[in-house]
């Protein structure tokens, strides 16, 4: 309240005098400071800081763990200096490119500032003060951008710190500070001025953060296509000028060079590079100008609410009056009052019938699970995203089989089954994460939780209904994709069609993959509670694992998708037992995730493990936790 009062005071005070006394007391400064303060109360900036520090540690201290690092170490006896000009720009370029999701974090910070005011309905209070559009919007933008840069600076700060505290494998030149500052400003900060301005403009004008997040996710294919189809064909000067990230331009090819050669490199910026940076800043300024010109205080026109035309109560011609007898007069008892009210009740009032209810036992709980599952399906059916995602998930894995030459490996059916399974798995994992997170958060978002949680329904029903609904949805996608593959196989004349390869591939590769993804997504939802935080963590971990797999670290123990670890012959031949053990290991971990989610679920059911002398739901969850852990440890130790 005090902070808001300070903000309101700054907004209403006369800037003519405020400017003369202290530039930090202008309206722009008030909004700027308030934005920084609001961001400091959010989770996203701290998560971004942690990710940045983690990245810096990985890229500095973990260089010797990569194939290339190991090669250099074996050939020359040491690595490049971690604070050489080359390596500093190398790190900043990778960081700015967003290998660990920096553009998504930037979107999380920059999409919300203006929309938050409207969501919290504080907009009317702010806009009733004499604050101009530019002061408001620029204060919001620069406040959020400062927070973003501070988070990014934690990456640079960790790199600088490694000069003082290097690991045994690191080689460090004498301490330096200026190159870090220079390259950080040129490569990271200026690049992200543009990204931040774009996100802020889109978020402010649409007031729909989902569009901004979509844009952030689309960043990766956009950057790829922009570089591949547009920049590649341009002359070198234009390529440097029009590259928003300026990555290739500051990086020098060091393949096969000795560490001494790399360490003595000095990265300098040419005039055309400076022109590129100026162009990026100009583009950001254009975005901010557009947002200042186009921003409207009024809410964007929404779809009109479809109110029903009901004859509420007895109709408008009846005037309401409070019957005087209902006022507590001395001498009239509560039962008298009640009887009068009952008499006054309308003649058509129907008595609420008595019903029998059953709330204990497996049968009753299965009936509740079926009811909850039915509702989950109805809600899933209303998801418009299904209309877009499902056809993509069905057809994209089949594209190659439909249009390219198919070389049978064993049999045509085996080739079709394995060919679809590899691509389909990526879609299924993404869809599972999305629908689990959405369904887990939906109850809170629509504020039905207090009503739902007050019903005598076990937590297992609430959690399993979401798990099973997603699982069955994915199963139907698998079935449709499989049927499509069979149809293509028939159309292309690749007979005979055998069902066994499809069944074995999908059930061994796809189903455990989606079961684990659903289980871990439910657990993360329960633990983190925040929807977008859950997405960020899942995307971050997924991107991290993909990076590790691409570097060759794709061990069985942390590879639930069996990425690069299976062929069709492994499923049916001698490797079948090994793969089966691995799948049991992941299914056990899935059970463990679900049991832990049950134990950590915010809605508490019963205190203690035993209720009325029998094992309660907490007790059962604990039993499943221990059993799953035992199975996971046993099967994990069997995997070679």
């Amino acid at each position: 309240m005090i902070r808001f009062t300070a903000l309101a005071y700054a907004l209403t005070s006369d800037t003519r005098y405020a400017n003369m006394i202290n530039p930090f007391q202008t309206r722009f400064a008030a909004i700027f400071q308030n934005e920084v303060r609001l961001n400091s109360r959010r989770v996203a900036p701290y998560v971004l800081m942690l990710f940045s520090v983690f990245n810096a540690v990985l890229w500095s201290a973990g260089l010797d763990a990569t194939y290339y690092g190991q090669e250099v170490l074996a050939k020359y006896g040491r690595l490049w200096a971690s604070n050489s000009d080359y390596y500093i720009t190398h790190n900043f370029s990778g960081y700015a490119l967003g290998i660990f999701g920096l553009p998504i974090f930037a979107a999380l910070i920059m999409a919300e500032p203006v929309r938050r005011d409207f969501r919290l309905e504080i907009d009317a209070l702010i806009f009733s003060k004499p604050v101009s559009r530019a002061q408001y919007l620029l204060g919001k933008f620069f406040g959020s951008f400062l927070v973003l840069v501070c988070c990014q600076a934690s990456f640079a700060a960790t790199l600088i710190m490694f000069q003082v505290f290097p690991t045994s494998q690191m080689f460090v030149l004498p301490f330096r500070l200026l190159p870090y500052f220079k390259h950080f400003m040129m490569i990271v900060v200026i690049t992200y001025v543009l990204f931040a301005a774009v996100y802020f403009t889109v978020g402010t004008l649409t007031r729909n953060p989902k569009i901004v997040y979509g844009l952030a996710i689309a960043y990766y294919p956009l950057v790829f296509f922009y570089g591949f189809f547009f920049l590649k064909g341009l002359p070198p000067r234009w390529r440097v000028l029009l590259s928003p990230l300026m990555l290739r331009e500051v990086q020098i090819q060091t393949w096969g060079r000795s560490p001494e050669w790399v360490d003595q490199l000095v990265v300098t910026y040419t005039p055309i590079m400076f022109a590129n940076r100026a162009l990026v800043i100009l583009a950001a300024a254009v975005c901010l100008t557009v947002v200042c010109l186009r921003f409207r205080i009024a809410e964007p026109p929404a779809k009109p609410e479809n109110f029903s035309c009901l004859n509420l109560s007895a109709g408008s011609e009846v005037l309401y009056y409070d019957p005087p007898i209902l006022q507590p007069t001395r001498g009239s008892t509560a039962s008298e009052i009640r009887s009068v009210r009952v008499e006054k009740a309308e003649a058509k009032a129907t008595a609420v019938p008595s019903v029998s209810s059953s709330n204990t036992g497996l049968r009753a709980n299965l009936a509740k699970l079926a009811a909850a599952l039915g509702v989950e399906f109805r809600l899933l059916r209303a998801e418009r995203s299904l209309v877009v995602i499902t056809p993509l998930a069905v057809f994209v894995p089949n594209l190659e089989l439909a249009f390219y030459r198919v070389v049978p490996e064993g049999s045509y059916s085996a080739t079709y089954a394995t060919g679809t399974a590899r691509t389909l798995l990526s879609f299924l994992i993404g869809m599972t994460v999305f629908y689990v997170v959405e369904s887990m958060q939906r109850d809170r978002e629509v504020r039905i939780e207090p009503v739902l949680w007050a019903k005598p329904t076990p937590n297992s029903v609430l959690l399993l209904s979401k798990f099973l609904a997603t699982f069955l949805l994915m199963l139907s996608v698998i079935t449709i994709a499989g049927l499509t593959a069979i149809a293509i196989q028939l159309l292309r004349g690749h007979a005979p069609v055998e069902l066994y390869p499809y069944l074995v591939t999908y059930s061994v590769i796809l189903i455990p993959g989606i079961v684990f993804t659903a289980g871990v997504s439910i657990l993360l939802n329960v633990v983190l509670r925040e929807k977008y935080l859950t997405y960020v963590v899942i995307v971050g971990v997924g991107a991290g694992l993909s990076y590790l797999y691409s570097q060759g670290y794709n061990l069985w123990l942390y590879n639930p998708a069996l990425y690069q670890l299976w062929t069709y012959s492994d499923l049916t031949g001698a490797g079948g037992g090994r793969i089966l053990t691995q799948r049991i290991y992941w299914l056990a971990l899935s059970c463990l995730c679900l049991a832990l989610a049950h134990l950590g679920f915010r809605r508490k059911s019963a205190k203690g493990f035993r209720v009325n002398g029998r094992l309660g739901s907490t007790g059962w969850a604990l039993v499943v936790t221990v059993l799953s852990l035992v199975v996971a440890v046993v099967t994990g130790s069997m995997i070679k």
Binding site: Y320, A345, V352, V355, A382, R447, A606, K607
Partner: protein, 290 residues
């Protein structure tokens, strides 16, 4: 009877919402009155098994509401102050879903129950409409219907008439009075004193997380017998009177102030005449005293 003993709750932010409150709630309608932030909703949430207290007990019909949450939920009908519904489901689907979760598995019984509830809350014509298109009042009525599923023995309604027009408010009060019957406990949390005075046989006043009084409305009014006075005085005198006496309400009417005050014993001044006490007088007296 619902027995609450030494119930305490402090939120992680440090706010002590309930301070060892003890309360005996008999069958019938029980009004819980208090200003905003008094701790009413916290108490309701604890009784509705949605919030864990730090200490204390609550027991009804041999069931410990704090420990046996499943048992409590079986006999509970809860209408929170703020709630939502799945916008893409119809009213009928919503009510059937809640009835199933409440353990009403027999289809015939459930259909009859849902039909009757729609009639009672005057939503029969809208039963096949999606809840997303409902007005605030219609949504509130659907909330009331779901709270009455399965003969609940403990009904907790938190500010239930917010968003209802006067006619619907009246109808809801009738419905609650009927449901209370002989055996059920209905706790009506509100800050509308007239609702409690017209509906409840027992009431409690809560403020700053403590129970200030637990009493019947008639006893409360009796306590102020011959103590409430009214007068119309010039505006300038109001400050002086307020400093000397316990003024419970003042209303400006054409340059004059109409005052209502409590003075136990003697007449506060010549201009004052005795007034019939009402529950509002008791409430304001109690809340302003402490």
């Amino acid at each position: 009877m619902l027995k609450i003993k030494k119930l305490s709750k402090t939120y992680p932010s440090g706010i002590q919402a309930l301070k060892e409150i003890s309360l005996d709630v008999p069958s019938g309608m029980f009004g819980l009155l208090g200003p905003n932030g008094a701790g009413k909703t916290t108490l309701m949430k604890i009784l509705a098994t949605l919030l864990e207290p730090d200490s204390g007990t609550a027991e009804m019909n041999g069931i410990d509401l704090i420990i046996d949450k499943h048992g409590t939920r079986k006999m509970l009908g809860y209408l929170p102050q703020e709630f939502g519904l799945y916008p893409t489901l119809t009213a009928e689907q919503t009510l059937h879903y809640f009835a199933k979760l409440k353990g009403v598995h027999d289809k015939k019984e459930r259909v009859a129950l849902v039909d009757a509830l729609f009639e009672r809350v005057n939503l029969a014509d809208a039963r096949r409409q999606r809840v997303g298109g409902f007005s605030g009042g219609m949504r509130q009525r659907l909330g009331i219907a779901q709270a009455l599923i399965g003969q609940p023995q403990l009904i907790i309604v938190d500010e239930p008439t917010a968003g209802l027009d006067p006619e619907e408010r009246n109808r809801f009060h009738n419905l609650l009075s009927e449901t209370a019957g002989e055996n059920a406990v209905v706790i009506l949390s509100t800050h509308i004193v007239s609702d409690v005075s017209s509906l409840c046989s027992q009431m409690a006043v809560i403020r700053h997380g403590a129970i200030l009084a637990s009493i019947t409305p008639h006893q409360a009014i009796d306590q102020l017998k011959d103590s409430v006075w009214e007068a119309t005085v010039p505006r300038e005198q109001v400050a002086a009177l307020k400093s000397r006496h316990q003024v419970i309400s003042s209303q400006m009417l054409g340059g004059q102030a109409r005052l209502r005050m409590i003075a136990k014993g003697a007449q506060p001044g010549e201009e004052f005449t005795p007034a019939t006490p009402v529950l509002e007088d008791y409430y304001f007296d109690l809340v302003n005293q402490r």
